[in-house]
């Protein structure tokens, strides 16, 4: 007797999305697989997460099946900083992922073994699309100490990415100075062949690029994957184009891919294609919403970024309204360029992240002239 339970159907849909080459699906085809998955997650969390059920009942008229991706109800991502939102019992919790946001408060994301495994599989599918099936020698633009001490999003990011490389070398010391010996050792290991560089955007710009340029390292065979946000760089008026042009000029690095994601949705990351735009993997999508009406914007429009992911089963994070601002470039980017002969262009929603909403301060007699304490 065939298993027709919702979970089995979800597993089947997920398997198909994972099996298809990432970033390759035409939007209609992708939505046909993704929408039932996301709607199933809404139903699951509605059933298993009482606070989520309450929010849907009060603010969305209960669980109303979504007819399109943008109808999947979204939670503001800031809720994970103040409320415990889990769809699994405490004894099923495998790990609690934390991320310290800019506001000081910490997001807490509850993972069970199943969701953690899905995240790993999804990230592998996404990275394989970029790096090919073979693991490459890998340089990590960070120091080894990052990995010890709590499951921070930074540590999780590094650890998650390390599985896609081999012969790992950490390019920075504990004081974030450049470790030339490690970097040269990695280049020797790669012996002119392709290698992976991974790190946080700000660390790459501030601690890696200047030293690599000064030493005249040839990184032209490297593939850089970087993420973590542009805030510190935007303060120095460094945008993605400047970032890439400078790296190319100083180190010969041409294959540079920005990665957009967040602790609240690990796994289904968005990657920058050769066109310089971010693309949604098969397992994820974005909707950009006009903050005046919260309606989706048309291509060319700017607004608040909503992220969708088919992975979160242990917590209601499959549809989140972020505090990031972005521009929607295309709903289907049929010709997003080819990623190094791995087949196919980058299809689907293309967008860029332009910044973060400033922290809202409610005017009034509230907090005032005395001080702005730490």
């Amino acid at each position: 007797m065939p298993d027709t339970s919702p979970d089995h159907q979800a597993d089947d849909l997920l398997a198909r999305l994972l099996a298809a080459p990432q970033f390759s699906l035409p939007p209609r085809e992708k939505a046909a697989l993704l929408l039932p998955l996301l709607d199933g997650l809404t139903a699951r969390h509605y059933r298993d997460c009482p606070p989520y059920r309450r929010l849907l009942d009060m603010l969305h008229g209960g669980h109303v099946p979504a007819r399109s991706l943008h109808e999947v109800p979204a939670l503001p991502v800031g809720l994970f900083k103040t409320h415990h939102l889990a769809s699994v019992p405490d004894e099923a919790v495998h790990a609690v992922l934390t991320s310290s946001g800019t506001g000081g408060a910490v997001s807490r994301v509850v993972l069970d073994a199943e969701t953690a495994a899905l995240q790993t599989r999804a990230l592998a599918a996404v990275m394989t699309r970029l790096l090919g099936p073979k693991r490459l020698p890998m340089m990590i633009v960070d120091h080894r100490g990052t990995l010890t001490g709590g499951l921070s999003a930074r540590a999780a990011g590094v650890l998650g990415m390390m599985t896609f490389g081999r012969d790992h070398r950490f390019a920075l010391d504990a004081d974030l100075s450049f470790d030339e010996a490690q970097a040269r050792a990695l280049l020797d290991r790669a012996a002119g062949g392709p290698f992976l560089i991974f790190g946080f955007t700000a660390l790459v710009w501030r601690h890696f690029l200047p030293a690599a340029a000064r030493l005249g390292l040839d990184l032209s065979a490297g593939i850089l994957v970087h993420g973590g946000g542009w805030k510190t760089l935007a303060d120095q008026a460094v945008d993605n184009a400047t970032f890439k042009a400078t790296l190319r000029r100083e180190t010969g690095l041409t294959r540079i891919h920005n990665m957009y994601g967040m602790a609240e949705q690990v796994g289904a990351v968005f990657l920058e294609g050769e066109d310089g735009l971010l693309h949604a993997s098969n397992l994820s999508d974005v909707v950009i919403r006009d903050p005046d009406s919260w309606e989706p914007v048309a291509p060319g429009g700017r607004g608040v970024i909503q992220v969708l992911s088919a992975l979160p089963r242990s917590y209601p994070g499959h549809s989140l309204l972020t505090e990031d601002v972005g521009v929607l470039h295309a709903l289907d980017c049929a010709d997003g360029g080819d990623s190094g002969g791995n087949g196919g262009g980058w299809r689907g929603t293309a967008f860029t992240v332009t910044g973060r909403l400033p922290r809202a301060e409610l005017r009034g007699c509230g907090d005032t002239a005395g001080r702005r304490g730490p």
């Binding site: 606070p51 309450r54 929010l55 009060m58 603010l59 939670l75 503001p76 800031g78 809720l79 103040t82 409320h83 903050p291 005046d292 009406s293 919260w294 608040v304 309204l321 505090e323 601002v325 909403l357 400033p358 922290r359 809202a360 301060e361 409610l362 005017r363 009034g364 007699c365 509230g366 907090d367 005032t368 002239a369 005395g370 001080r371 702005r372 304490g373």
Partner: protein, 440 residues
């Protein structure tokens, strides 16, 4: 180890008005000390206020800024004369009002225009006044459309008025400085009156800086406010009346993004269950329409913060219903009329609940409540209510629409009187001394 025999030097501050310049605290205090003495409600002070008022009411930039218009009206000579009479003609017998001396005023850092009121009152009292303007004043920065902020317009016009009234202007200093306790400490140590408006944390912080023993310490901390509507009275309104009430309520709600102490956050319906539902169904869409007509539109950060807060409120309070009108208005219903454990976020968020009659508002009122805006109740019932509450919250009962208008009583304190001291002149001084019983 080096011992420093001297206290650390007090840094300079920015004198913003009159005549912007960098100045040492000691020099600023010397200058204020040398300013011509002003008696309470002096002609010079009234003239300066009147000139400021005239400029506010005439300037095209204040046309669409109700907060500045309201201040302009409040500062008119006729209004100040009424204020003078209220203050000076009700003194205890055989007393004479004199200024307190040096007033150190620290108004709220994030309300554009409220600083003007304590400044004017202190000046009218005849005090030398140092008013600290926070760099956080939104109104100092241009707004989204590039227009000058409210505070910038207000300060510009005050500067012009001060140029014309040098005697009165000499006793006023509007200053700015960073988060520098040394400056605050020096000003505190020199003043006879310190008045602080702010969050409870800010007040506690400033209170650590000592005042001279005889100085008066006034603090106006976080407050909250409510609005109570009589269902029958609302249902009796025709379309025009309903729209007028909605406009008044929108004024109370949307000035300062609903963030002022007097901005209502709780809406109390007084009447039967069905009446209340019908009244809400009629009133709330008109309130939203009034906000829309007034052009209320929270910026993206505020809209996002409001949306997040709305979700949190649903999780944290026993809300039974949520009505949303775009980004402008969100109304959350509490079935049981009990004081909620937390105040809803502003920017157009109301918690509504129902009680059978205004007399039963007690359980909804907290000590920190300041203003109760009302519609549809006779004044004798409101007086009885105030008597019944007996100081357990609510310092003001005002008609809906006047929550943010400024009166001489602030948070239960008659502010103009606090800016004055009383000299007692015993009438017996006119008689020959009585024979002393102690044989010295």
């Amino acid at each position: 180890m080096t011992e420093f025999p001297f206290p650390p030097p007090v840094p300079d501050l920015d004198l913003l008005l009159p005549r912007p310049q960098r100045i040492a605290v000691a020099e600023l205090l010397r200058r204020l000390d040398g300013a011509p003495a002003l008696e309470p409600f002096s002609a010079a002070a009234i003239a300066l206020c009147a000139d400021w008022s005239a400029r506010l009411l005439a300037d095209v930039r204040t046309r669409n800024r109700p907060a500045l218009q309201a201040l302009g009206f409040w500062l008119r000579p006729a209004a100040l004369e009424r204020l003078r009479r209220t203050v000076l003609e009700r003194l205890p017998p055989d007393t004479l009002a004199v200024p307190r001396g040096l007033a150190f005023l620290v108004p709220a850092g994030n309300v554009d225009t409220l600083f003007a009121y304590p400044l004017a009152l202190s000046l009218l009292a005849g005090n030398r006044s140092v008013l600290r303007l926070s760099g956080r004043l939104d109104g100092l920065a241009p707004s989204r459309d590039g227009a000058m902020g409210d505070a910038a317009v207000l300060l510009g016009l005050l500067g012009e008025a001060m140029e014309r009234a040098p005697d009165a202007a000499a006793s006023v200093a509007l200053v700015g400085y960073g988060h520098d306790d040394a400056v605050s400490a020096a000003l505190s140590a020199a003043c006879d009156l310190r008045a602080v408006w702010g969050g409870d944390g800010s007040i506690a912080h400033l209170r650590r800086l000592p005042l001279p023993a005889r100085a008066l310490d006034l603090a106006f901390g976080d407050r909250s406010s409510l609005m109570a509507l009589d269902c029958a009275a609302v249902l009796a309104l025709d379309r025009t009346g309903l729209d007028r009430l909605a406009e008044d309520a929108a004024n109370d709600l949307y000035w300062f993004d609903q963030g002022a102490c007097a901005s209502p956050r709780i809406l109390v319906w007084c009447g039967g269950t069905e009446q209340a539902e019908e009244a809400a169904d009629r009133f709330l869409p008109r309130l939203d329409a009034a906000a829309q007509r007034a052009g209320y539109r929270p910026d993206p950060s505020l809209a996002m913060a409001k949306l997040t807060a709305l979700h949190r409120t649903v999780l944290d309070l026993p809300v039974t219903r949520c009505r949303r009108f775009g980004n402008r208005l969100a109304v959350l219903t509490l079935e049981r009329p009990e004081r909620p454990a937390l105040a809803p976020f502003g920017a157009g968020t109301l918690l509504e609940t129902r009680i059978p009659a205004i007399e039963e508002i007690g359980p909804l009122v907290a000590r920190a409540d300041q203003t109760l805006g009302v519609f549809g109740f006779p004044s004798d019932r409101l007086r009885a209510l105030a008597r019944r509450l007996n100081g357990r919250g609510i310092d003001r009962i005002v008609p809906v629409g006047r929550a943010l208008s400024f009166g001489p009583v602030w948070d239960g304190v008659e502010l103009p009187r606090q800016f004055l001291r009383l000299v007692e002149i015993d009438p017996h001084t006119a008689r020959p001394p009585a024979p002393s019983s102690s044989g010295s």
